[in-house]
Amino acid sequence: MATLEMAAAQVMGARGQIENWADSGMAVSSPITDTSTDIDTDERINNLVGGDPQRVAAGLDSSIMSKERTGDQRTLRRLAQNREAARKSRMRKKAYIQQLESSRIKLMQLEQELDRARQQGIFIASGVSGDHGYSTGGNVALAFDMEYARWLDEHQRHIADLRSALNSQIGDDDLRVLVDAVMMHYNEVFRLKSMGTKSDVFHILSGMWTSPAERFFMWLGGFRSSELLKVLVSQLEPLTDQQLMGICNLQQSSQQAEDALSQGMEALQQSLSDTLASSLGPSASCDNVANYMGHMAIAMGKLGTLENFLRQADLLRQQTLQQMHRILTTRQAARALLVINDYFARLKALSSLWLARPRDS
């Protein structure tokens, strides 16, 4: 019959369309392989064909109808299903294209903003255009601040566990597990700072990622180990003579290392200042421009060593903590970690109090 052939062609066409949108996640019933029973698909037939359910159901009772007529019904049903599937597919395609269009417009707007900002001399990360080398100061700093805040939260949880363990009658072995956990977690913050230093050394140096009072005490991007040890000694008694000597030696050597790095930093500042000053001179001439660029290049090289200084300072902090851990017993180390945490907590609290203090109008 002509109608059947046309219908078959339509089915094949629809199936072709559907297969192009394979990822639309639709189950397509194939006229050839469909094995679903007529009774199972009653509801679908009702929705698609829109016929009288009883009549349709009766019409699909294969024991009554002839094979040919059942075949027609089946084909009609499949045609309807395919039409519906194709319709849904077209709608999905339309939605997808609309999404692409709005993304394209958004992208154009962003690129325009980027160009405008570049013209104004703001350095912006540009993975889009492929050139490399500038980092978004703001975004990198924010990323570090968020990671650090998350580290602080986790640290507080570890400390809370340690505190309740110390207050209970927990054995040394179990306590050691908790102490080791805190020490391991400290390694995490040094790893974070290392990455932060590589991305934005000035942000780490600024201390803007920490509270104002902590910032006041900051040395080379972090706490001063020698000061921390002074605080600890008074809180850690009783110590054996050997331990006391160990802690005092540690305090002295960390102080010496800090002083050495400080002097290195002073030399760096002086050197940088000299370089920039020597690029000053009488008003611009051809010579002076080349001079300027040369001096800037030297200054850039010197600035690069700043990262190294911060790295050494963090290594110093990390190693001081580890040595302290070695000298003390498990219980003493637990107490030490609590004291350190409580000390910094007071600095943070002081910062909050200060910021919230009442002021004369």
């Binding site: 050597s253 002097q263 930093m265 200084f309 050494q312 110093l316 190693q319």
Partner: protein
């Protein structure tokens, strides 16, 4: 003389030997560290040494890094390393015994 041999020879001639570059601030820091401990190191500024470049390359090979490699510290003829190794050994308490053994420190 082979640069590496020259390095070993220079390193063994004094208790504490530092290979440095005059403009290097980290080298300045390591010198200050030893001075602060009462130690008087022998310093070779490679930018002022006739074979400085070769020595620097030899040191880089010794440490398994690419230049710049300074500061590099030897104590009692033995290689200690760059700033991070010197500081680490000071913090973990192994530096002072080494200095005493080499005769660079008394008391």
């Amino acid at each position: 003389m082979d640069p590496l041999e020259r390095v070993e020879r220079l390193a063994s001639e004094n208790a504490v030997v530092i290979f440095s570059v005059s403009s290097c601030c980290m080298c300045h820091a390591v010198k200050r560290l030893f001075c602060g401990m009462g130690v008087h190191p022998t310093v070779y500024e490679l930018d002022m040494e006739p074979l400085g470049r070769d020595i620097e390359r030899a040191l880089a090979r010794l440490l398994g890094v690419v230049p710049p490699v300074v500061p590099v510290v030897f104590i009692g003829g033995k290689l200690i390393g760059a700033m991070d190794r010197v500081m680490a050994s000071h913090i973990n308490g192994t530096l002072v015994p080494l200095l005493k053994e080499a005769g660079a420190l008394w008391l």
